[in-house]
């Protein structure tokens, strides 16, 4: 047992979809279990070890309350490698979406005076609080990317993840262009690849669920979308649905950048 890497799989606040992707590896799950020493996976098993050092910890979800932050920092102390799985963990995800209400205001509207009994913090990705060794984005993550990552990690390597856009995958698959030809609000050009252009393959525009690709040309995307007749608020809403915490997706900063 001792030679197998000790693994922990945890969720902060979120839909648990990325943990579910792990459980959805129905054909590989028993092999993964055999090749690793899963010490704790509260969603799927009782009696986990909550104190042992871990070789690898996989964490999905977003930090939205002090409890999440404490748990994350504790896991960082225990783990050699900390892996953020899913767009919530990597970018803040849907909970960190741009919103015109402050957290305190929202809490009051939702819970009334009872809201004072608990604390919330502005939703943020894991990297705002701790060092993250590997980020696997996606809402949810793609099973193949997860399995490749696990295989690399078991060999002591970090996996190579795509640093190109969904648009590239879409072109390779020769799907009709939804942005240029059909005039849809498609974020394929600025969203990181890895899903094999899943939405365009169903004739649906990319909504950016995997977060922005490195060095994305946001200003060019915004200009194109404006030409297609989308309003700045429609564009901003779509840009910040999954990665509201990413500075590159703030249109205000974009404007300053263009003027500079």
């Amino acid at each position: 047992m001792s030679s197998k890497p000790k693994i922990g799989i945890y969720g902060l606040t979120g839909c648990a979809g990325d943990q579910l992707v792990i459980l959805n590896c129905e054909d590989e799950l028993l092999d993964i279990v055999g090749a690793t020493d899963i010490r704790s996976f509260p969603m799927a098993m009782s009696g986990g070890d909550e104190n042992c050092p871990l070789d690898i910890v996989f964490i999905d979800g977003t930090v939205v309350q002090p409890k999440d932050e404490e748990m994350l920092k504790r896991l960082r102390e225990r783990a050699n490698l900390l892996i953020a799985v899913g767009t919530c963990a990597v970018w803040g995800g849907v909970p960190a979406m741009e919103n015109k209400f402050s957290r305190e205001e929202v809490k009051k509207r939702v819970y009334g005076p009872t809201g004072d009994l608990f604390k919330t913090i502005t939703p943020q990705p894991l990297s705002s609080f701790v060092k993250v060794d590997l980020s696997i984005s996606g809402c949810p993550i793609e099973k193949e990317q997860l399995l490749q990552a696990v295989a690399s990690l078991l060999h002591g390597d970090l996996p190579r993840l795509p640093n190109y856009a969904v648009c590239t995958e879409c072109k390779m698959a020769e799907y009709p262009c939804l942005l240029i030809e059909k005039g849809h609000l498609c974020l394929g050009p600025i969203t990181v690849a890895g899903c094999k252009a899943r939405c365009p393959s169903y004739g649906r525009p990319c909504i950016g669920c995997r977060g922005p690709v490195e060095e994305a040309n946001i200003s060019s995307e915004v200009r194109l979308l404006k030409e297609k007749g989308f309003t700045p608020s429609d564009i901003q809403n779509r840009l910040r649905t999954f990665a509201g915490a990413a500075d590159s997706l703030q249109m205000e900063s974009l404007k300053e950048g263009t003027n500079a």
């Binding site: 969720g11 902060l12 606040t13 979120g14 839909c15 648990a16 979809g17 579910l20 459980l23 959805n24 129905e26 054909d27 799950l29 028993l30 279990v33 899963i38 996976f41 509260p42 969603m43 799927a44 098993m45 009782s46 009696g47 986990g48 977003t62 939205v64 309350q65 409890k67 999440d68 995800g93 849907v94 909970p95 979406m97 919103n99 015109k100 929202v106 809490k107 509207r109 939702v110 819970y111 009334g112 009872t114 009994l117 608990f118 919330t120 939703p123 809402c139 949810p140 899943r198 939405c199 393959s201 169903y202 004739g203 649906r204 909504i207 669920c209 429609d234 809403n237 779509r238 649905t241």
Partner: protein, 428 residues
């Protein structure tokens, strides 16, 4: 004498929750199902979004129930704009929801609940002694996911189901292939049911339940309906769901609780079978008849057996839907056109864990002005606390550890989805 039982973190449930029980002078003083999953404030987040953005955001309330959230959301949007989708779209959406039901029930029965009954901490540990059973469970789970991938375009958070219809239709070959897998799955679901029937079901949590589920005038058992049936008698229009799901804020929980006329009620597979079980047919009916009255005994631990019956039903119904689609041939239709108008609409679906309601208002430009989502687990929370109280009263003489594991078993029987429950809607 004061004593308390605290379960900090429930395992093998989706999300973050615990249980606190306070005992004074040998009597149960207080029982709380604590929900400390962080709030995400979904409903205020979608205000101002255009109608087509609503489902992709709100389906992310929950991964396991994302198909049901998607379909309920789309139905609410379409209802608000007064549009009708085609019969083909309705069938495909139902197939998607049946796929979600198969996946979720298989996950719950085999991976989360059965280990309780056989005394294992997890399905992983269970696999070392019962490999065949665990493999069968995983195959059934995969079948549910394959349906969701084929129809919804992804097993979690479907991309292909959109307002008015579908992005791309499945091919006849894909549907025929699914049917073959479903036929094999039917055999497995029957074995799974036998396995569940062989489990000893203790009765420490038995107490009278009020059940609620969707119902329709149709002849078959179903996961859709335009009315809400209650075991106390009578039905209500789904638009009046607020009369049942009278949500209140409680201090120990980030999820609100639902009460019907001041009493807790239960939703989910057991509630559906209690209310609509006479409409079951085929192998599912035989399975239900085999269980007999135990399903109606008020023992929520039978929810696992009810799920096993429903897994058979969902597979048989999926085969029926595919036969119907293939017999008339798939019509290459585009999503129905939307005419924007100001309005309010409600959609309801029986999610794996019970009735799920989405209700929205839009302005004349199709932007959302108000959203309300009531999830099954939020409806079940008060009933879970009722069952926990009964259980502690019955188990009070037992050692603390034994009480704890049995209380966890009660919560798990409801198959709670805590992410869903912390959905956070606006107060009045």
């Amino acid at each position: 004498m004061r004593k308390s039982i605290v379960i900090d973190h429930l395992c093998r449930v989706e999300g973050h929750g615990g249980i606190t029980v306070k005992i004074e002078n040998g009597k149960v003083a207080e029982v709380n199902m604590d929900i400390f999953e962080g709030p995400r404030f979904f409903e205020p987040l979608v205000v101002g979004r255009t109608y087509d953005e609503v489902a992709p955001i709100l389906m992310r309330i929950c991964a396991i129930c994302s198909a049901a959230h998607t379909v309920a959301s789309l139905m609410a949007v379409e209802n608000a704009f007064g549009i009708e989708v085609t019969p083909q779209t309705r069938l495909l959406r139902e197939l998607l929801v049946q796929g979600g039901n198969i996946e979720s029930h298989a996950l719950h029965i085999f991976c989360l609940a059965i280990p309780d009954f056989l005394g294992y901490p997890s399905a992983i540990a269970l696999a070392s002694d019962h490999l065949q059973e665990v493999k069968m469970g995983l195959e059934l789970k995969k079948l549910g996911n394959t349906i969701q991938e084929t129809i919804g375009g992804r097993a979690i958070h479907p991309v292909n189901a959109v307002v008015g219809g579908f992005g791309k239709l499945p091919s006849q070959d894909e549907l025929s292939g699914l049917k073959e897998q479903l036929k094999r799955g039917l055999e497995q679901s029957l074995s799974g049911f036998d396995l569940v029937c062989s489990l000893q079901v203790p009765d420490f949590c038995t107490s009278p339940n009020i059940y609620a589920a969707l119902s329709s005038d149709g002849s078959g058992y179903g996961l859709f309906g335009d009315k809400i049936a209650l075991s106390t008698g009578g039905t209500k229009d789904i638009k009046t769901y607020r009369e049942i799901c009278n949500e209140g804020v409680v201090a120990h929980s980030h999820a609100k609780q639902s009460l019907f006329k001041g009493k807790p009620f239960a939703v989910g597979a057991l509630a559906r079978i209690a209310l609509n079980g006479e409409k079951l047919s085929g192998q599912a009916k035989k399975a239900k008849d085999k269980l007999g009255m135990s399903l109606l005994s008020g023992n929520m631990l039978y929810n696992n057996a009810a799920q096993a019956v429903e897994m058979i039903y969902s597979i048989e119904r999926s085969i029926e839907i595919i036969d119907e689609l293939l017999s008339v041939g798939l019509n290459e239709e585009r999503p129905v056109d939307i005419r924007l108008r100001a309005g309010t609409g409600t959609g309801a679906v029986e999610a794996p864990r019970g009735t799920l309601y989405h209700s929205y208002s839009f302005d004349e430009r199709g932007r959302l002005t108000e959203a309300d989502v009531i999830t099954p687990t939020a409806q079940n929370l008060a009933n879970i606390e009722k069952d926990l109280r009964v259980s502690v009263e019955n188990l009070i003489a037992e050692p603390k550890e034994s009480i704890c594991s049995k209380l966890e078993m009660v919560v798990r029987a409801y198959d709670p989805c805590i992410s869903c429950a912390v959905h956070l809607l606006k107060v009045g």
